[in-house]
């Protein structure tokens, strides 16, 4: 056994060291890793036995990396679960049995998983359980700017908030140890700018275990040689042990509630290695957490400011003594954090407890904006305003922003089958003034011009159900509900059962592109693939819909526009819940079959204005097709009344 000290830069000039005991034959390696890759790497090194999750930006690459690293961990079981609730519950079963588990999701996924998560803090776990919930300040690709630090507090679960990829790596390891020590799940909450940033990180080639916790996650016993972790489970290994502790009943919940409160109170007395007070003995102080902490340090160095700083790495349970010490040494405090004023509220409450008159500037005081990311320029401005410094950005030192650049919004890809599906529905419903209820996926982009076939979008699965409520209140209107294939399995089936059983006359369009496309192409129960590299009989969406008792079910290829339009018309005419399944693969699943070109365009612009394909552009008042972008779907040829669009074989 050799003791190796790991170090990483937390602030310029300062290195933080964490000591770990490694097994023999360890080589240290420096790798450039994405924050998400670092989390997966650390989980594998921590001996994780089960990894589950549901894809969602910015969390998706964690599970994909774990799958790539599976060769290093032969006993690892890994799956994209049907939804986040399923993922947490599958992982909980494994954690009850003493296995270390990792669950991944984005912040809105935690809403879906909230039922098991809220109960798990009461029931607890045996194997370490780390739930990674990626928050998305901005938001850049989410419906909400909700703050998982608050959710963790609400659920009575400890939460770690990394400020960089390398800290995400170390925190993942610390989270497993913390979870096992407390017997509770622990949330790791990276944000987009940690998940999607890379850094050179020193990693261990083999899994490592902390000195006070050399504990085989798979066997629940002491383990000296870490490579033993990879061996087959021996016969008679501890498995799930029956115990009343796994059954949540009111008296148990009552007892646990007090225990949890005591446990969290005790934890808050001490700080983790990720919380720190940098005392520069200044009257003014700044508190921060997450990626804002990292950017703040760059800003302070660029401004050449030396000031006391409080870093909060575990916002719940907050390190109260550390916060008290910080407040005792300062008179005026600026709090910088993205999303909710979590650190700010901790400091406001501690200010009351210690009874010192300290001015706290942040979101509560209206000094810092509640919404959006805190970028370098924002942080610099807040720091300068707080300290009364002039913001040194002289206009003449900067290049002025251009006023000639066109907006570039994301669009459905050229060749995307959703465009054909939306167009068919729009054509079929012409003159009916229909209402289109959309859902979460690439097809949310159906809201944009010229398709404009998404009037509502709320959350996963809500297209089908909101359509029902709209139909009840607008009985004379044709109402459509759109849902993708992965979303259908994640949370569409229950909504469809609701429509059928209550006999609501809505038209449900299932956009089945054979993959979870929005997040980059993950398998789901309809694809026939699993993350264990095995094939599984795909669940047939049409059979599921029929089994629910839907009276009108038709499947068709959206690129066959004539029959697609006819099918939608029949669905609308049907009195009761109808389902049309438009099945055509995402372009990322197929080779470009052919392409199209315009010859002798008459300049009517019908193709441009009807379907909005990004491969079609206008030059000299005629339509042209970008042959690099064109994916050969042929929808433009169908739309061109002048017959000027020709097929080119490759």
């Amino acid at each position: 056994m050799t003791e190796t000290r790991y170090s990483y830069t937390r602030l310029r000039g300062e290195r933080v060291e964490i000591s770990e005991i490694l097994s023999s034959r360890i080589e240290n390696m420096r790798k450039l890793l994405l924050g998400n890759e670092a989390i997966a790497q650390a989980a594998i090194e921590s001996g994780v036995g089960v990894v589950c999750g549901y894809p969602g930006t910015p969390s998706t690459e964690i599970l994909e990396t774990a799958a790539r690293l599976k060769a290093d961990a032969p006993n690892l079981y890994i799956e994209w679960s049907t939804n986040e609730k399923a993922a947490v519950e599958v992982a909980a079963g494994a954690a009850y049995s003493g296995v270390r588990v990792l669950v991944t999701m984005k912040q809105v996924g935690l809403n879906v998983a909230s039922d098991p998560v809220m109960c798990l803090s009461y029931i607890g776990v045996k194997g370490g359980m780390v739930i990674v919930v990626a928050d998305d300040p901005g938001p850049i690709s989410s419906q909400t700017e909700q703050d998982t630090r608050h959710f963790a507090e609400y659920a009575h679960i400890p939460v770690l908030d990394p400020s960089s990829p390398e800290e995400a790596y170390l925190m993942t390891k610390a989270a497993f140890l913390m979870s096992q020590r407390l017997g509770k799940p622990v949330i790791l909450r990276p944000t987009t700018k940690v998940c999607h940033a890379s850094a050179t990180i020193q990693i261990a080639e083999y899994r490592i275990q902390n000195i006070e916790d050399r504990y085989s996650p798979l066997r629940g016993e002491h383990c000296d040689d870490l490579k033993d972790l990879h061996r087959e489970l021996p016969a008679g290994a501890p498995r799930f042990v029956k115990d009343p502790r796994w059954v949540i009943f009111p008296p148990l919940a009552y007892r646990r509630h007090n225990e949890i409160a005591e446990m969290l109170q005790k934890e808050s007395e001490s700080a983790t290695e990720f919380d720190k007070f940098y005392n520069e003995h200044s009257r003014y102080g700044i508190a921060a957490g997450g990626v804002t902490w990292a950017i703040l340090n760059d800003v302070l160095i660029d401004l050449d400011v030396i000031i006391s700083r409080l870093k909060i790495g575990r916002p719940h349970p907050a390190p109260l003594r550390l916060a008290d010490t910080f407040l005792a040494e300062t008179e005026c405090v600026l709090v910088l954090e993205e999303l909710d004023p979590v650190i700010e509220d901790i400091l406001i409450s501690r200010k009351g407890v210690i009874g010192r008159d300290i001015q706290i500037m942040g979101k509560r005081s209206g000094f810092v904006s509640h919404a959006g990311e805190l970028l370098y320029a924002d942080i610099k401005k807040y720091v300068c305003d707080f300290l009364g410094l002039s913001n040194h950005d002289n206009e003449e030192d900067l290049i002025a922003a251009p006023d000639c650049t066109p907006v570039r919004a994301p669009v459905l890809c050229a060749g995307c089958p959703h465009r054909a599906s939306f167009y068919a529905v729009k054509t079929a419903a012409k003159g009916k003034n229909p209402i289109y209820c959309g859902d979460i996926g690439c097809y949310t982009l159906g809201n944009a011009k010229p398709l404009e076939t998404t009037d509502t979008c709320l959350c996963m699965g809500a297209g089908i159900t909101i359509a029902q409520g709209i139909k009840h209140s607008n009985p004379d209107t044709t109402v459509f509900g759109f849902i993708g294939d992965s979303t259908f399995f994640a949370s569409g089936i229950t909504g469809l059962a609701n429509a059928v059983y209550n006999n609501v006359d809505v038209n449900i369009i299932i956009l089945d592109n054979r993959i979870t496309a929005m997040t980059g192409g993950q398998p789901h129960p309809g694809t026939g693939k699993t993350m264990m590299n095995t094939d599984s009989p795909p669940i047939d969406i049409e059979a599921v819909v029929k089994a629910l008792g839907v009276g009108f079910v038709k499947k068709c290829n959206p690129f066959d526009q004539v029959s697609a339009v006819e099918t939608v018309k029949s669905a609308v005419d049907f009195n009761g819940t109808s389902v049309v399944i438009f099945e055509a693969p995402c372009i990322n699943l197929i080779k470009k079959p052919k392409l199209y070109t315009v010859e002798g365009c008459i300049g009517c612009m019908r193709c441009v204005n009807e379907i909005g394909c990004p491969s079609i552009f206008v030059e000299d008042k005629t339509a042209k097709i970008n042959s690099d972008l064109c994916y050969g779907c042929g929808l433009c040829q169908y739309v061109c009344k002048a017959g000027k669009i020709k097929e080119v074989t490759l």
């Binding site: 830069t9 999607h196 890379s198 050179t200 340090n297 290049i399 002025a400």
Partner: protein
């Protein structure tokens, strides 16, 4: 060194930043950081990639903070020019990818105004990387042509061998030869 790479989803900006990060690592940089705005970019949105090496805490470059701007698309070059330090270096692909808003007549892609703005505010090098990539038989290697051009102009602090090694270790093996060719053609384009 602070580098900003801009482009449109699908143009390989992230791969290019990975190659540069790998090259920086191989040339002994103690610390390399990259940061991306990906999100919905897969569907033709703007992509921005940051690369920093040295003693810094975060990968995000402020306006006026970049030593080098590489833009794989013309109007994205203009959009992100304010990231460049005054007097910083820029290599900009002249190829245009017109956003849908332009085809629909809701926005204008004024090439002359865009080029004028870039020239007025920088001494950027323009290069038709798309033409070079297409001549090699694959428009997808625009990103590597651009890296070659940046190297050819002397804007990258890495040796040629280091960059080629970084390309080899980053791209898929079946595309190694194509990409090394693309890199060489990018260098050649700056020698004309």
């Amino acid at each position: 060194m602070n580098i900003v790479i801009s482009g449109v989803g699908g143009q390989g900006t992230i791969l290019a930043s990975k190659i540069l990060a790998e090259a920086a690592k191989q040339s002994g940089a103690e610390f390399v950081r990259t940061g991306e705005t990906i999100g919905m970019s897969q569907r033709g949105g703007s992509v921005l990639s940051f690369l920093r090496e040295g003693n810094i805490s975060s990968p995000y470059i402020q306006k006026g903070g970049a030593d080098l701007l590489l833009s794989f698309e013309l109007c994205e070059g203009a959009r992100n020019l304010p990231y460049l330090k005054k007097g910083g270096n820029a290599v900009i692909n002249t190829a245009k990818i017109k956003p849908l808003s332009v085809s629909l007549g809701n926005a204008v892609y004024d090439e002359a105004a865009i080029t004028g703005y870039i020239n007025e505010n920088s001494s950027a090098t323009f290069i038709d990387a798309e033409k070079i990539a297409v001549s090699l038989g694959n428009a997808k290697c625009i990103n590597i042509v651009m890296l070659g051009a940046a190297f050819g102009k002397g804007f990258l602090n890495f040796g040629k061998e280091t960059l080629i090694e970084a390309i080899k270790s980053t791209v898929k093996p079946q595309f190694t030869e194509l990409n090394i060719n693309a890199f060489e053609k990018g260098i050649e384009a700056t020698e004309l």
